[in-house]
């Protein structure tokens, strides 16, 4: 429904909470764009949504939609009902005493649309999300995926300029998640307004976002397209999410001195402060010091072994400390156990090197 498009959400969010938590985040979401906030629990993602919805007033900064100010403390505060926002809450919050149709019609009725018109439009939205057959049911009779669609229809029925989704897939079980994700993606693509979505699941975030904003401790630590973020993580948190070893260091000549000690040689020529990233599967293990093609090899000690899908993930302490994925056969062959001393090797061509952004001082050590 593209009728609400055309305005950009511009937010400079500053919010101090009594517990000492501080949110300081700058966001711009263009019409038709889906921005996903990705971050660990407690990073301030939900607080960001609540601030934009008007449920948590800012203590500083500004939220505006095009030229209209929503929250400029201490001068101006537009209450939630007067902001053109639609919210899909994590636990959906469908009114339990109303039918699905009444839930979807609620926003229209609250804005003075007469009963029949509101019902008709609610039914249209239920058609869109494929819930027309359930319009008379109470929300408790819906499955998780259906409830999510009903919540989405309820939020969209008021034709908001901004759509806010808080962990829209978190309440679903794995079997329905993929299907609901695809459906949600389709609905978001049709929505003409600005969409801000919150998730702590990298897969959800990567598949639903046009742009990702990674939030840690109330601040943005990285942003970019899903591909950029997935291939060039800049924090340990992101590296873990996308499953890469991330090492910071300083490039001199053709080798990189790592911040945590040790030295690696990437294939790409680089200079100055850099990040090096490579998948755990690129780490090759040898019982004795290898003498061959691999220029990057160093002694390590096994500190942890865990099953990870079909492979075994090893925590290897050394200079640098890294994660390695090996086959169960290799574990048996090398008689791996915590404390086992080995040699790790990585081919230079497996290492992606990219400049660390200026001002990013704290170099991360080994991932994991």
């Amino acid at each position: 429904m593209g009728e609400a498009g055309g305005v950009t959400l511009d937010a400079d969010l500053r919010l101090d909470r009594p517990g000492g938590f501080r949110l300081d985040l700058r966001l711009r979401v263009a019409p038709g764009e889906v921005v996903t906030l990705l971050g660990p629990n407690g990073a301030g993602k939900s607080t960001t949504l609540r601030a934009i919805a008007g449920l948590a007033p800012l203590t500083g900064g500004r939220i505006s939609m095009s030229s209209q100010d929503w929250d400029v403390p201490p001068r101006r505060f537009t209450p939630p009902r007067d902001r053109g926002v639609g919210v899909v809450f994590q636990e959906y919050r469908l009114f339990p005493h109303m039918s699905v149709r009444e839930n979807v019609a609620f926003g229209l009725r609250a804005r003075g649309v007469d009963r029949h018109a509101a019902r008709r439009r609610a039914d249209e939205w239920l058609d869109v999300v494929g819930l027309r057959d359930h319009s008379g049911h109470r929300p408790h009779r819906l499955s998780g995926g259906q409830a999510q669609r009903a919540a989405l229809a309820r939020a969209l029925a008021t034709t908001p300029e901004v759509l806010l989704l808080d962990e829209p897939l978190a309440a679903l079980d794995v079997s329905t998640r993929a299907r609901v994700r695809a459906e949600l993606s389709r609905h978001l693509a049709r929505f003409g307004g600005a969409t801000l979505l919150v998730s702590h699941d990298p897969l959800d975030a990567m598949t639903l976002a046009d742009r990702l904003v990674i939030v840690e401790d109330g601040r943005e630590v990285q942003s970019g397209t899903p591909v950029e973020v997935a291939t060039r993580p800049r924090t340990d948190y992101v590296a873990r999410l996308v499953g890469l070893n991330l090492l910071g260091g300083n490039a001199t000549g053709d080798s990189v001195d790592l911040a945590g000690g040790g030295r690696l040689v990437p294939a790409d020529p680089v200079r100055g402060p850099v990040w090096l990233a490579f998948p755990p599967s690129a780490v090759v293990l040898h019982a004795t010091e290898p003498h061959g093609s691999a220029r990057n090899h160093w002694p390590v000690t096994v500190t942890g072994i865990e099953q990870h899908g079909n492979t075994v993930r090893l925590h290897l302490e050394g200079r640098p400390t890294v994660l390695a994925d090996v086959t169960p056969a290799a574990v048996a062959e090398l008689r791996l156990a915590p404390g086992t001393a080995l040699w790790a090797a990585v081919k230079a061509t497996e290492i992606r090197a990219y400049p660390a952004e200026p001002g990013e001082g704290g170099m991360a050590g080994g991932a994991g």
């Binding site: 926002v85 919050r93 609250a110 008021t158």
Partner: protein, 266 residues
């Protein structure tokens, strides 16, 4: 396949006091029924001035409950949700009629709404309205005594209610009043109903404040409890008959209402 019903044993430490509690409530009632002159019941009912008093009682209790709903539910909301200064003091004040002897409540009402009362003198002088010795006075006295039951029940539920649904309503563009009416109130409906039942029952049995504030005149202010009390002075048997009638009617009404609600809730 047969379902085996496993009966859980009730702990004795719960069962014994529970049965004693039941006895405390029910045995006096049984005493009343034993003393009831069943053979002379019908002629007594036919001759006594039971019906005007009963009609008045039901009418006044219902009206008073209506007033309590209209005023008490918003008051409960205020106490539960609004950010008012001195809220704990307000909360204590609301429950004062619960601890105040009803007769004292009646005197207090006279001092305020009486002919020479703080407000009553102006009601009388400006509008020619006088509450004492009128049916309206009965309703006021009953509402005064019964309202705390409703307020306490609803306030507790409101405080326990999940405010997240109200947030959701707000983001959907609902005003405070619309949210209250469509979201908050339905979510505490069981407590409102329970409070209403308590309130009605209390109003129906109200005696002290009523006789003090509204006086006693058959057909106008003589409700069943007043009739019972006065009959007790001269004719205890009549008093028992009146009590049994009051009991029967109130139990029938309360049980009927509960049935309807249970069915609706299911």
């Amino acid at each position: 396949m047969t379902t085996r019903r496993v009966r859980r044993r009730i702990p004795v430490l719960l069962l014994v006091p529970a049965l004693l509690g039941l006895a405390v409530l029910v045995v006096p009632l049984a005493g009343l029924l034993v003393e009831t002159p069943w053979t002379r019941l019908w002629p007594r009912l036919a001759s006594a001035e039971v019906w005007p008093a009963l009609r008045l009682s039901l009418w006044c209790a219902t009206l008073a409950t209506g007033i309590c709903l209209v005023l008490g539910v918003p008051l409960a909301w205020l106490l539960a949700r609004a950010d008012v200064p001195g809220r704990s003091l307000l909360r204590a004040l609301v429950t004062v009629p619960l601890v105040l002897p009803p007769v004292v409540g009646g005197v207090a009402l006279l001092l305020v709404f009486g002919r020479r009362g703080l407000i009553g003198q102006y009601l009388d002088a400006w509008f020619g309205v006088s509450l004492p010795f009128t049916t309206a006075g009965v309703v006021v006295a009953e509402a005064f005594v019964a309202m705390p039951f409703l307020v306490v029940a609803v306030e507790g539920a409101l405080r326990a209610a999940d405010p997240r649904f109200e947030e959701a309503a707000e983001t959907l563009g609902a005003s405070g009043w619309y949210t209250f009416r469509r979201v908050t109130l339905p979510s505490v409906a069981p407590a409102v109903l329970a409070g209403t039942v308590l309130c009605w029952a209390r109003a129906l049995g109200e005696f002290g404040a009523t006789i003090t504030f509204a006086g006693n005149f058959p057909g106008e202010t003589t409700t069943m409890p007043l009739a019972v009390y006065l009959a007790l002075e001269s004719d205890p048997e009549a008093a028992i008959v009146l009590s049994v009638v009051l009991l029967t009617v109130s139990v029938a009404v309360l049980a009927g209402m509960r049935d309807r609600w249970v069915r609706r809730a299911a």
